[in-house]
Amino acid sequence: MSLLELKNVYKIYGELHALDNVNFTVEKGEWVSIMGPSGSGKSTMMNIIGCMDKPSKGEVLLDGVDIAKESAKNLTAIRRDKIGLIFQQFHLVNYLTAVENVMLAQYYHSMPDEKEALEALERVGLAGRAKHLPSQLSGGEQQRVCVARALINTPEIILADEPTGNLDEKNEEIVVDLFHKLHDEGTTLIVVTHDPEVAEVAQRRIVLRDGKITKSVVNENFTGKIRFS
């Protein structure tokens, strides 16, 4: 059984088909990129996979459970237990320190553990920044805190919507490197990106256009490492 399976998924806003009969499968441990022009439905699809929105029609099977049919309360629980989210805007709680932001995810998931949270920050290279507030961190550092927060509960699947959209090359490399490590540990990754270099390091990339998947390319020489030209 696949980890994630979208079957004939539609998302319709009035006349607009933001998702138009999408069929899409992701295996456990796979690393997939989603590309496509602005307004093609990438975020809409991520919201549905991330249990924050429901499709107008179709089935979304996550671990065999059709999340299109779950209650809002159950969706919150599924999101908490199985999904790690990374956003283009580095969404952090602005009055909590880096380590507190990471602990927040633990708090909602199970038990806050400062030691574990510090270890996660160390993994993203921010051990020395644990006590800083988001306003005292650079954009790249903030995004790495978001990565630490997304991985702290060892989710089955990490969803990243343009995680490198606001980062410079160096930070982009650090984040992609982190994805690589997560992939090596068996985490499933779905990454929306406009950046072809980031898209190409994945095992597979699909392209959305007007709510339809128009292309699906498998990376024959997958290494998981970013190659700058």
Binding site: S43, N47, A77, R79, R149
Partner: protein
């Protein structure tokens, strides 16, 4: 780390690190709590203060003879039943008809210190008589006879028992007095002349009876009734009564005043609630992104409600503590300016103020917090 510890860490961080925002909310709660605790303090202190005020408007108990007359000793005996701390003043009065230049006036013999204590509102131009041979005259008497402070006055007395024969032959008893003061009360007291009981006894050549005694007693209406019962039982020569008019109006004014204070308190609490609700609505609107983020990383509606409620209850607690302290200062100022006396501190008002401000804050933030749970977590993914 326990979940509860993280919870406390989060809500204190939210209050401490978002200080400027929270100050507005805290200020409105603290002002509400200040007025609440101030008014409640005044509410409970008003009977004491008003009692003192009313007592300064004269006697609230009166002794009259059970038979036709009684002596000063009977009066003192009756007064002894009242606890010394409750007895503000006692003034025995004896009235006799005397003449000034042949024109009759009423002379009142009394205990000057007692009269001063029992009738503190009496206004005397000059001084109260302090020794034998001194008296004060009522303002009307002073006007009729053109009397001045420092002047002298001769009083004559004709005993009622004299026969027609004796009236023609025997000289009236006369005495000369020094006028120390002119009494101004706005009442019938202005038509009398006041001297000490021994002086009046000397003028009338007898040991003297007393006609009436006025008393000023502190304590509520119930206490007053209890004393009256005890006095009437213990001293047969004395019939004690309340002076109805003053004590009754004291009670009605008190009730009205307390109702007013209560009403103002309720209005202030309602205003505080509206103010807190408005601030919280703004705070929730401002924090939509944060709420969406918390939900996106797995916060249930219950934990969102818990966190906001926790923050607000903490605010209520802080506001309550500040308010109960400021409230006492506020009540103290009001008391000093209105009643010119300081207020008694009631410890129980502190926890009550804190609890009420927590409750009001909690109640006021229910609707705003409910709207927080309606934030769509997908909001944060959209990016802005």
């Amino acid at each position: 780390m326990k979940k509860r510890q993280m919870f406390l860490r989060m809500i204190t961080a939210s209050l401490m690190r978002r200080r400027s925002r929270m100050l507005v909310a805290l200020l409105s709660i603290a002002i509400g709590a200040t007025i609440l605790s101030g008014l409640v303090t005044i509410y409970y202190d008003v009977p004491r203060q008003m009692g003192a005020q009313f007592r300064s408007y004269g006697a609230n108990m009166i002794f009259v003879p059970a038979d036709t007359a009684f002596t000063e000793q009977d009066v003192r005996q009756g007064a002894a039943v009242i606890q010394a701390a409750d007895l503000v003043g006692i003034a025995p009065y004896r009235y006799e008809n005397v003449r000034i230049n042949g024109i009759p006036v009423v002379a009142a013999g009394t205990d000057m210190q007692g009269a001063q204590a029992a009738s503190p509102y009496w206004h005397v131009d000059g001084a109260w008589p302090a020794k034998d041979g001194e008296l004060m005259v009522g303002a009307k008497v002073a006007e009729s006879f053109r009397l001045k402070v420092g002047g002298e006055i001769e009083l004559s007395y004709t005993p009622e028992t004299r026969t027609q024969e004796e009236l023609k032959t025997v000289q009236d008893q006369t005495c000369t007095y020094q006028i120390t003061g002119i009494l101004d009360t706005g009442g019938s007291e202005e038509e009398y002349v006041y001297m000490s009981l021994p002086d009046l006894a000397k003028l009338t050549v007898d040991d003297g009876k007393v006609d009436v005694a006025e008393l000023s007693v502190s304590g509520g209406a119930e206490q007053l009734e209890k004393y009256i019962e005890q006095i009437n039982a213990a001293v047969p020569a004395v019939t004690a009564r309340t002076v109805k008019r003053v004590t009754a109006s004291e009670t009605t004014v008190l009730t009205k005043l307390q109702a007013l204070v209560l009403l103002v308190t309720i209005v202030v609490l309602a205003l505080t609630m509206i103010c807190v609700a408005t601030t919280m609505t703004a705070v929730v609107a401002e924090r939509r992104r944060e709420i969406g983020l918390r939900k996106a990383i797995g916060a249930s509606d219950k934990s969102i409600v818990g966190e906001f409620l926790g923050e607000n209850l903490l605010l209520g607690l802080l506001g309550g503590i500040i308010g109960s302290l400021l409230g006492f200062i506020f009540a103290q100022q009001v008391s000093i300016h209105v009643f010119s006396s300081s207020i008694s501190f009631r410890l129980w008002i502190v926890p009550v103020t804190i609890l009420v401000s927590i409750a009001v804050t909690g109640l006021a933030s229910l609707l705003p917090i409910r709207s927080a749970t309606e934030v769509d977590p997908a909001l944060v993914l959209k990016g802005e």
